[in-house]
Symmetry: C2
Subunit: 217 residues, 2 copies
């Protein structure tokens, strides 16, 4: 009984890591679509999101089945509930990638991000994708050290967000309101992807150590 | 045993309805701060959010306790898991109200929303607050009819979002990039509050009927 439970729980975490890898692909492709104005890739991100939604449903069913049949308590129960939360956050990160892809698609054949805003936006996208990549490893290895390190990266995202706002609010901004609004919303989407990555990493810390991480000073 | 379980489950739903009412106050006050440029009210929304966070933790502890001690299965299990998801969404709606309040605070003593954008933004805020108000009743009464009606209101929010974008992207827009960015982000925050209200209503439909609602055509 106990072994079956551990196998089922391990399987759920493997599935979560698999979904995280799908999300990583979605973030990367959405960024490519955004930076190149490629509508085919944008459409792919949008249509592939259904597979993430289905994978989420499967994890939920498996978690319910585990709760019903094994009736875990204490730490085991918290682990399963944490898995349910993590899968909801991963699905949301997929949705945010779709939002990025839709902004890209809306501006085809143009590119939504003007030349002078590209370095900051490119770096935001890199930080977001890197955080998702590391979340895959954090989940797969239930790696507390990597989870703690992930929280620190979020500070770079906050700084990039501030830089992005100063660029589009500067007197030198010559690309008008539409591009500025696109960039503000795109920045919000990448920031939220990063927030969810940190939140998932914190849940892994809680699952492994039994304690919530201490917020950064 | 069974009666204790039902009492505990009812208590969780009462607590959820109580948090929803706090969120409704937060949305209303954030809107007042936004439309009047009142920093005192904005600060109140920001500091009151800690009470929503604490109430969320209490609901989570009660739900864990119920899962551990009563070990519900099937529909009862789904109800408790749904409650855990609803409380996470309610907390997020509180966070979004804080985001609105922070935009308001950033522009004091000015008002972030220029005159010509006020009718649409005011209506967005009204729709969001009304949806939260109705979510309180949906949760408290586990009211499926009211939950279904809530999903329809979300269409008005989508329409308002489109109207808002056409206002700030029109050639007549004379308020510059900063106000446009504020309005795009504020619209996003109200839209997300509405999305969460619909999502919570859908969870209540699932809890009561055992089926997910059919998406609107």
């Amino acid at each position: 009984m106990r072994d079956a439970y551990i196998d089922q729980l391990d399987a759920i975490f493997e599935d979560l890591a698999g979904i995280a890898r799908r999300v990583q692909v979605a973030v990367g492709q959405a960024t490519t679509a955004l930076m190149t104005g490629d509508s085919t890739i944008a459409e792919k991100v949008i249509s592939d999101d259904a597979a993430i939604d289905r994978a989420r449903e499967q994890v939920e069913e498996n978690a319910f089945s585990l709760l019903s049949l094994q009736q875990p308590v204490a730490r085991d129960l918290r682990t399963v509930v944490a898995a349910l939360r993590m899968v909801a956050e991963l699905e949301r990160m997929g949705d945010l990638s779709v939002h990025v892809a839709k902004v890209a698609r809306l501006r085809v054949p143009d590119v939504a991000v003007p030349e002078e805003a590209r370095p900051t936006m490119t770096r935001m996208a890199e930080v977001a994708e890197d955080m998702v990549s590391r979340v895959c490893d954090v989940i797969a290895g239930r790696d507390v050290e990597a989870a703690i390190a992930l929280g620190r990266d979020d500070e770079e995202m906050d700084q990039l967000r501030r830089t992005s706002f100063s660029e589009l609010l500067s007197d030198d901004w010559s690309h008008g309101v539409e591009a500025a609004v696109d960039i503000a919303l795109l920045g919000r989407y990448y920031e939220r992807i990063a927030d969810h990555a940190v939140s998932i990493a914190n849940r892994v810390i809680f699952v492994v150590t039994g304690h919530n991480p201490v917020p950064a000073a």
